[in-house]
Symmetry: D2
Subunit: 375 residues, 4 copies
Amino acid sequence: MLSIASSTFATGAGARMIGRVTLHDTAERGFASDNYSGIHPEILAAIVEANGGHQVSYGGDVYTERLDEVFRDHFGAQARAYPVLNGTGANVVALQAVTDRWASVICAETAHVHVDEGGAPEKMAGIKLLPVPTEHGKLTVEAIRSQVWGLDDQHRAQPQAVSFAQSTELGTVYTPEEIARITGFAHEQGLKVHVDGSRLANAAAHLGVSLRELTTDVGVDVLSFGGTKNGMLLGEAVVVLNPELDRGLDRLRKTSMQLASKLRFVSAQFLALLEGDLWLRNASHSNAMAAVLREGLEGVPISHPVQANAVFVELPATVRAELHEQFHFYDWDVARGQVRWMASFDTTPDDIQRLVKATRAALATSSASSASSAE
Amino acid sequence: MLSIASSTFATGAGARMIGRVTLHDTAERGFASDNYSGIHPEILAAIVEANGGHQVSYGGDVYTERLDEVFRDHFGAQARAYPVLNGTGANVVALQAVTDRWASVICAETAHVHVDEGGAPEKMAGIKLLPVPTEHGKLTVEAIRSQVWGLDDQHRAQPQAVSFAQSTELGTVYTPEEIARITGFAHEQGLKVHVDGSRLANAAAHLGVSLRELTTDVGVDVLSFGGTKNGMLLGEAVVVLNPELDRGLDRLRKTSMQLASKLRFVSAQFLALLEGDLWLRNASHSNAMAAVLREGLEGVPISHPVQANAVFVELPATVRAELHEQFHFYDWDVARGQVRWMASFDTTPDDIQRLVKATRAALATSSASSASSAE
Amino acid sequence: MLSIASSTFATGAGARMIGRVTLHDTAERGFASDNYSGIHPEILAAIVEANGGHQVSYGGDVYTERLDEVFRDHFGAQARAYPVLNGTGANVVALQAVTDRWASVICAETAHVHVDEGGAPEKMAGIKLLPVPTEHGKLTVEAIRSQVWGLDDQHRAQPQAVSFAQSTELGTVYTPEEIARITGFAHEQGLKVHVDGSRLANAAAHLGVSLRELTTDVGVDVLSFGGTKNGMLLGEAVVVLNPELDRGLDRLRKTSMQLASKLRFVSAQFLALLEGDLWLRNASHSNAMAAVLREGLEGVPISHPVQANAVFVELPATVRAELHEQFHFYDWDVARGQVRWMASFDTTPDDIQRLVKATRAALATSSASSASSAE
Amino acid sequence: MLSIASSTFATGAGARMIGRVTLHDTAERGFASDNYSGIHPEILAAIVEANGGHQVSYGGDVYTERLDEVFRDHFGAQARAYPVLNGTGANVVALQAVTDRWASVICAETAHVHVDEGGAPEKMAGIKLLPVPTEHGKLTVEAIRSQVWGLDDQHRAQPQAVSFAQSTELGTVYTPEEIARITGFAHEQGLKVHVDGSRLANAAAHLGVSLRELTTDVGVDVLSFGGTKNGMLLGEAVVVLNPELDRGLDRLRKTSMQLASKLRFVSAQFLALLEGDLWLRNASHSNAMAAVLREGLEGVPISHPVQANAVFVELPATVRAELHEQFHFYDWDVARGQVRWMASFDTTPDDIQRLVKATRAALATSSASSASSAE
């Protein structure tokens, strides 16, 4: 079994160690986010393997060249991938690829592009977002239709694209049929479709389908494909699936400050993730951990179907407070007492059991106290 | 001696190796750029050490916390560092920090921000650049003054900052005195000063001064501090030296798509670089290699003083063609027959000797051929 | 007494008249918008008076100088006015004055800035809007509060301002008390308040208060003050009421392409509007016409309180179709059968009576037909 | 015969005149700029004629409809005109029409877009400008070629258009042949050509050619056509000559805050200017006045060929000071003692004679004083 602990280079005799040590407890894991985790060992190994010697910078290296083929294997021969630095960057580059300067983009009110990107789509690319309310974070044709109007009205930033996350920010998953309905309607209306796939692997794992069946085959035009949340140190890719849109992407990437000079290290990580089945193993694992967690919470109010690696739970304030003392996680909607618990590629069954047990205990105490105060 | 080769994890028995191998020749090094190199072993070790377990994402980790102190050690107690993803991103974030929405920024015609960033300052931040001609890539008070006019003219994008690279894009270095003259004049005129320090370490190594003596002590307001070109996988930092300007930097970073989620790995690399003297060792080494190269080229026309890790050489076309067959490097100014040769932290004396020898040989052949054709 | 007749230029012997004629029916008026109307005679006279000779361009003229005083008379000694070209421009300049680069602005879902400006706030100024649902188009503290969160969250475009229209896009009016509640809450939260006052005069006329009582006195920070919809050919003004925000406004105006070169003609129009009581007469008149219309429609469903110069009416499709043949007006919400009828400074009582009569007739036919089809 | 006198509204019994008077001396004219002048009488008459009644706003009026035909008459059947508000706005809309998001635009160092628009191209549209030095403000193929490189380099904001002013900011004029050379080269290189024609009429008048011969016929793609400097109150037009580029212009105009609601008044002015020959009469007149001025200055150093309506003169400081006391004009290049004198449609021969006489007198005094001080 691979063991980073046994890695010799950190203790190599010749290395001038200057008191650097691992500053954190590597045994501690929480449920705050899949980006609290580190690097999967196979991906770290790929970084090491790609090191040494010189390689052409800015994407002219052999790893990036090879990656291009690998992405085509996954998404079809027409696909073209542009590795970038982070998820916000991927989305902003991708949205520029599907819009004119006068466009707006329809998304869910809960969309990462709308809520969590510091306004980067608007500020960096001038893209107006048209957020719509959804159930469980999933766009529908009806929801999209509510914003498809005024197409001949010069006063309205013209809706030119739909953007949705797969899996969603609320841990739900679109089926291929649902996506096909969205892309069908969108294309009919002249809109392009962008998928924020920072957790696309989790959706594919949940559905037991290929990445292609979730994207190319159901009409998605451009994809932000996630690496970071699935075990990479850092790296996402803008994947252009509709070849008509493959214009100037390398320039958009550069202009949008998303081009790494030593790109080989981003590409090598993606190779580790995508050449074999690591992407699927990692996603399946984190999904499975979420499912176990969900089962362990039988009887506790769960806000959304648990289809990927997130579990949204509603809990009394005292219970949340007690759990916050033991685990890292985020309150999602304080008004509703809702928290988000996320599993990661490195979440263990033991981690889940500890959380379940602690929750059960806190709930019991809480009930007892309620009962007692009700007497 | 540290040996990544002996790293066990890549060959760990349990790892499902799927045919990935190092795809490139790790013994090959050229002179194209310091970003053709890979990761310094000590920095790679730091990535490994920072791995495992969970850490708060987006900068709430202990490595980033520690890094803050380390930057203060280097730049003074008032300094505040914001690790970002790449050099273009660092510059665009930094320039936003020193400008209002109606500003322009004075820079050298040869500045990276003007020439090599795909228009990101203009496109992402709306910053108008006012490029001025220079000698050897270095701004002077006179050059800056040529653009400091119209300060009360509403039709002119108001000059609010000066931006220069240290060391410069042409391998030259500003002395602390030269910087003080620039910052003195700039401040007198109400302008802020930004330094693009993607190779600041090389300048410090050349001058034998501390990072602080080149920046804080001579009035620099905001700095882009480079890591990638000095041995990191990836990572730069915006360092605010003038505390009056430390407003909203974390938000500018996010909005500018420059915030890594697993920021601990960027910060851990910087710790490896900056806690000890690795930053200086790497820079001194690459400078030294450039100096050796320069000496070896005695008699060959050199375009600019060789003060950092770049050597600009003028060569006949046939010589350039012959050398291009053996080494990676860039033609800089084809009209002048000028090439750029850069040394990196991993350039060896042997690499230099091979280049010198090949150049000498090609020049000899070229002369002979000229002589012969002249007969 | 003013007499355009005395102007000699139009009858100058040398003028080569080339058959130009009035191309439209100057007796035709509809209910589509107050910007379908033309120029009020007194304002046209002011343009004529400001003509001839040379005046410093870009605001250095005596009309703009005088206007500055007039705005101070209306809004207080601290007020500073910047005449601009149109309403979208006024809003975009004003919103830039109350935000940093990383900000968002809270507005009503029905706000002109959100719905009718072609995305200019996002596209030209990078301002993210946070639209909230409202009743009758009016923001409340509760509605605003729903978006005031995440102020310490770097992932959220930081809410820094509230923007609302007075009178609103739905013809309703905020009382000074309602505004004070909004500004009180906003300031408490560190937010600035912008008022889109393209129809501020109508609100003041409705309430019988001064412009100042609706703005400066109740804590508004920056105002877009409308001229075009109240009888001007063209012209709005950004009025900075909070002197702390009066930084760089002239530059923002220029950079935002909102500075007229022959600014004297915009300023002269504003002088005609604001030096006397024309602003109030025009607004009172259009309000009164809307009130008469509303009274005439007794029994017909009215969607919103009629407080300014707009009447939103719900009508059967056949009735709308019939009326569209006789009058210009807009369907507002087709699903609800809602139309918007606007009165203008030049709407006459006769115009209103014709509309009322035609509506009554169409409704009667419609009822008869319904009754008949129900038999 | 048109008679504003017959307009009844100005003398309507009910108009409450409030003491407004013409605030400036309508007999005073200077040489500062053609935008210091007012409105030509025929154009003012057209505004009056277009007044009254209601017309569809935002361009749906009959004046704008008619204008479309008139522009086609001047520029060819494929031309499409979009009236906008000011010159900066026209240029920024036009440049967006010829560029992708990753583009740069080559222009003269002296170009209005570069020097006098407050950075609007960069700030509002993200367009990077590549200024090149010129002689007399005129681009040449050689000058353009100096910036046409790196077309396959993702680090360079891609040159996609050339923009030049006709007549230039220095009062010089491109011949059709010169333009054809520029457009030929540009198109060969895949670049589009934009002409800033805020004074195109002056160029046509100078050359004795039609507007079409200077634009459509020699390959210009998009034009900013000026009205304000040729006698209009306010108004320019973006004219798309290359039909391939006529995409989304109405939306770009709106998004760029350049759409007037009462557009009929902009269009009506243009009709007055363009339906007959007023555009040519005005331009010819101002050119002629400049020519007379130039002749009167025989022996005084003139910086640039006088081909349009500007004269750049070099004068001793004492002479400039003395003239500044009598006339409005701008010092252009203080270091060279250079001033700019501009003629306008309303400049009279007497105005010119006064200026010539004053200059001669000041020069004589200056010489005498020099001579005397030299004794």
